[in-house]
Amino acid sequence: MQEKKNYSQLRAMKAIAVASFRSIIRNPSAVVFSIAFPLVFIVAFGFINGNSIKMEVGIDPQSDTTGTIYHSFINSPNVELKTQFTAAELNERLNRGRIDAVLKFDKASSTNTEVVEIITSQASREKGMFVRSLVTNLIDKQNIEYYKNVSLHVDSSIIERARETTKPTELRETKISGREYKMIDFILPGQLGFSILSAAVFGTAFVFFSLRQTMVLKRFFATPIRRPYIILGEALSRLIFQLLGSSVIIVIGHFVFGFTLINGIWTALEMLLLSALGLIVFMGFGFVVSGIAKSENVIPPIANIITLPQFLLCGTFFPIDAFPKWLQIISKALPLTYLNDALRMIAFEGAGLMDISSQLLVLVLWGVVVYAAAIRFFRWE
């Protein structure tokens, strides 16, 4: 087909993207849902839990509190001591998961060695493990100091040996401190994932429904732009807006709440790249909704049917592991689970694209299914 030689579909697409972007940033609900809402959750959780996991540790009243280990322990960060309870009360609380571990500090009278007894519970398994790591870490440290002091008094060959034995212990220490998984590290990727899902579904559904209804699209059809470029222009503006929103969330999360970006800016960029993929996949839902909705009023309920279950079941607020097995099956069928998962792996574990390839695959598969439905249901007029 001949067109005027110089007619550029890309220029027309850019005009739509600019118009759409201007319209989005003036739309209060877009800004609220994409940026303010997730931030409110992040702030709320950030403050409720402090910045990190707090471990509540009961100290057995029979403890000998003169030892050096005891002193190192009570000065550790993230530990809240409970000293006011009897041994029986501590046991009861541990049983219910109200505290995470009970420690008893003692000295073996014969050797003058310090002994720490730790009791943990299934009721608070993970935090119990944290306490245990913390204690073994302190013990190791103290032992190294001890051997160093001993070796100073002996000849140089023993110093060498002492160094050899310190190395593996030092390794373990870094591993323990690297495991400091803060609440924000869980909450932020979940909020990011959900904000992408809801912005993509609601935004796309409303925009295309109302553009169709108010005949804005029809007026576009009377210009030489081809239809796919209208969609591309709209998608581009939403993408840019949402990535800006995601950047704001990540930056505030990182600088205000200490959100872990393991490889700094690169991690942030990888998260944005992943957000873009998620947005594109989820926009497919929006196209479907805009097509099947008979009136503007039914868009929210239909969109909620898509977003709400994922909000609750896909690890936005609670880890999926906390659900019963049958519910986990549903969780693992939904796409947001994989976006959240991949975001967390990138941010906290420094996972590369290869490490999250299975998550990406599921997202792309969902994309194929959703866009097949979008082609079937989307209506231009």
Partner: protein, 254 residues
């Protein structure tokens, strides 16, 4: 006004599932004229217009616009026409200047927004939003968007419906001005006074068919020649003249 045909419609038919909206229409529009499609609501005016505008598929028939076949190159037609839709809205939350930017991009045209707005008497409203405009201003802005690509033909679908007498007259002046620059205008209306004042030729459509096509004077003369007489003696003024002389001819920005 030359006598070369810029639009040629032959045997145009449009069937919806049960309704025959357009039932074998043929007509030509001459370059530089104001051509009116008249008829009651539902007669098929808008459908005919939208087929020529490339917005609707036809069932059969041929349409040529400036020598371009609708079947072969609708996109080339879009580039040389300007379209004002009945009751269309504009992209939400945008100022008029920004809407003009949008349409300039869509047409790949370079325009001076201020000049464009001045052309339709909206030079002070560049920073207003479309929904903040009065009815007359909305129509004028719509017409501005049809002129962005310097089209050869402008299609206006009931541009004066719902406007007060002053705003209507003001819009007529604008339409005449557009034609005076050499642009062909195709307009639909169901106001006969409007057609009589504006149109060089009109086609009267009824039930998807053209039942008469000629200049307004000719049609009137023909009717009188057939022995027609108005039942009521015509006075040299009517109620609209009274209204306008009382409220002024000037069009105002509400």
């Amino acid at each position: 006004m030359s006598n070369s045909e810029i639009i040629v419609v032959k045997d145009l038919v449009k069937h919806y599932k049960e309704i025959q909206a357009v039932n074998g229409i043929s007509f030509s529009v001459y370059e530089g004229e104001i051509f009116g499609l008249l008829g009651p609501n539902g007669a098929g005016k808008t459908t005919t217009l939208e087929i020529i505008e490339t917005l609707r598929e036809k069932t059969s028939g041929t349409v040529m616009v400036d020598g371009i076949s609708l079947d072969h190159n609708p996109n080339a037609i879009k580039q040389i026409i300007g379209v004002q839709l009945q009751a269309a809205n504009y992209y939400p939350n945008l100022m008029l200047n920004e809407l003009l930017d949008l349409f300039a991009g869509l047409y790949n045209a370079s325009i001076d927004n201020a000049e464009m707005l001045a052309l339709v008497g909206l030079e002070t409203r560049g920073k207003s939003k479309y929904k903040e405009l009065s009815g007359g201003q909305k129509q004028r802005f719509s017409i501005a968007t049809t002129l962005i690509n310097k089209p050869k033909i402008v299609f206006l679908d009931e541009p004066t419906t719902g406007l007060d007498p002053q705003a209507r007259r003001n819009l007529w002046d604008l339409i005449k001005e557009i034609r005076s620059k050499g642009t062909t205008v195709v307009i639909t209306t169901h106001y006969m006074d409007e057609a009589e004042i504006l149109c060089d030729r009109v086609a009267i459509i009824e039930k998807g068919k053209i039942i008469s096509l000629n200049s307004p004077e000719k049609l009137i003369d023909n009717l009188i020649a057939s022995g027609f007489e108005r039942k009521k003696e015509v006075k040299s003024a009517n109620l609209e003249d009274v209204f306008l002389s009382l409220t002024g001819y000037e069009w105002r920005d509400e």
